[in-house]
């Protein structure tokens, strides 16, 4: 059975992506409630990223290295660890800082978020970056799972 920490990590990461996708879309046409709503949504996105960091990190340190990594390395797709896991675990570290920057920009900007077009564009581009990196994390997670599956099928 798959480790439940992986499910929680994926859930948190995907909901963080959804939160910043929400920020990106809502800023195309902000309304009266947009500043207060986006403070909550970006705050939740940041919280999900921080929790994904802790949960994913705990799984990586406590379980992945001792149980999963040896299986992948003994299978036909060892690159799934040597390239994908190694890149994923480090590229992920960019996300919480980006999330914190977006949350802070929305919080600092306050009510003028509706009228400040340059600020809105800045927040939108940064949110889109979080969405794209977040989606790439999900794709890399799929490749790592594939590495485990092919190794088990090969009898590793």
């Amino acid at each position: 059975m798959a480790n439940w920490l992986i499910g929680i990590h994926a859930f948190l990461g995907e909901f963080a992506v959804l939160a910043f996708l929400w920020v990106f879309i809502e800023l195309f046409n902000p309304g009266k409630d947009t500043p207060s709503r986006l403070r909550i949504i970006s705050g939740l996105g940041l919280l999900f990223l921080l929790l994904a960091w802790v949960v994913g990190g705990y799984y990586y340190v406590s379980t992945y290295g001792s149980e999963v990594k040896p299986i992948i390395l003994n299978g036909p797709d060892a690159w799934a660890h040597r390239l994908i896991t190694e890149a994923k675990e480090h590229i992920f570290l960019l996300l919480p800082f980006l999330g914190m920057l977006i949350f802070s920009m929305i919080r600092f900007e306050g009510e003028s978020l509706r009228t400040d077009l340059k600020m809105r564009k800045a927040i939108q581009w940064l949110s889109l970056l979080v969405v794209l990196i977040g989606l790439s994390m999900a794709g890399m997670g799929y490749l790592i799972s594939t590495g485990v599956r092919t190794a088990l099928e090969a009898g590793a």
């Binding site: 675990e89 590229i91 914190m100 564009k121 970056l129």
Partner: protein, 106 residues
């Protein structure tokens, strides 16, 4: 938006950008120097935890340093472009390094 708010935003943007470069640098350097990676491991028990903690400390120190200066340049859009460029560079550098490492070590 007042000057202080704008400055805090720039300070955080700059600290974020440089922290991402720091993450890429410490990641690549730790793979090239086994002794350095071992030292990172000794600090917390795992090199990745140490990198996580160091990146947080690096961000806090940089933000504190920038917040003490009086410099405020550009606009939010320029700042976001800088952060996106640094994030893109850091992500590509990390991925390319591990790809090169995979191909070169077989």
């Amino acid at each position: 938006m007042n000057h202080m708010t704008l400055k805090r935003m720039y300070d955080m943007g700059k600290a974020t950008g440089f922290t991402m470069l720091f993450i890429a640098a410490i990641t690549i350097f730790s793979e090239l120097d086994v002794g350095f990676k071992d030292a990172l491991k000794v600090l917390t028990g795992h090199h990745w935890i140490t990198k996580s903690v160091l990146s947080i400390l690096f961000f806090i120190i940089l933000y504190y340093y920038f917040s003490r200066s009086n410099e405020t340049k550009g606009n939010p859009f320029e700042m976001s472009k800088m952060v996106i460029a640094y994030a893109g560079f850091s992500g590509v550098a990390i991925f390319t390094f591990y790809l090169w490492h995979l191909l070169s070590t077989g």
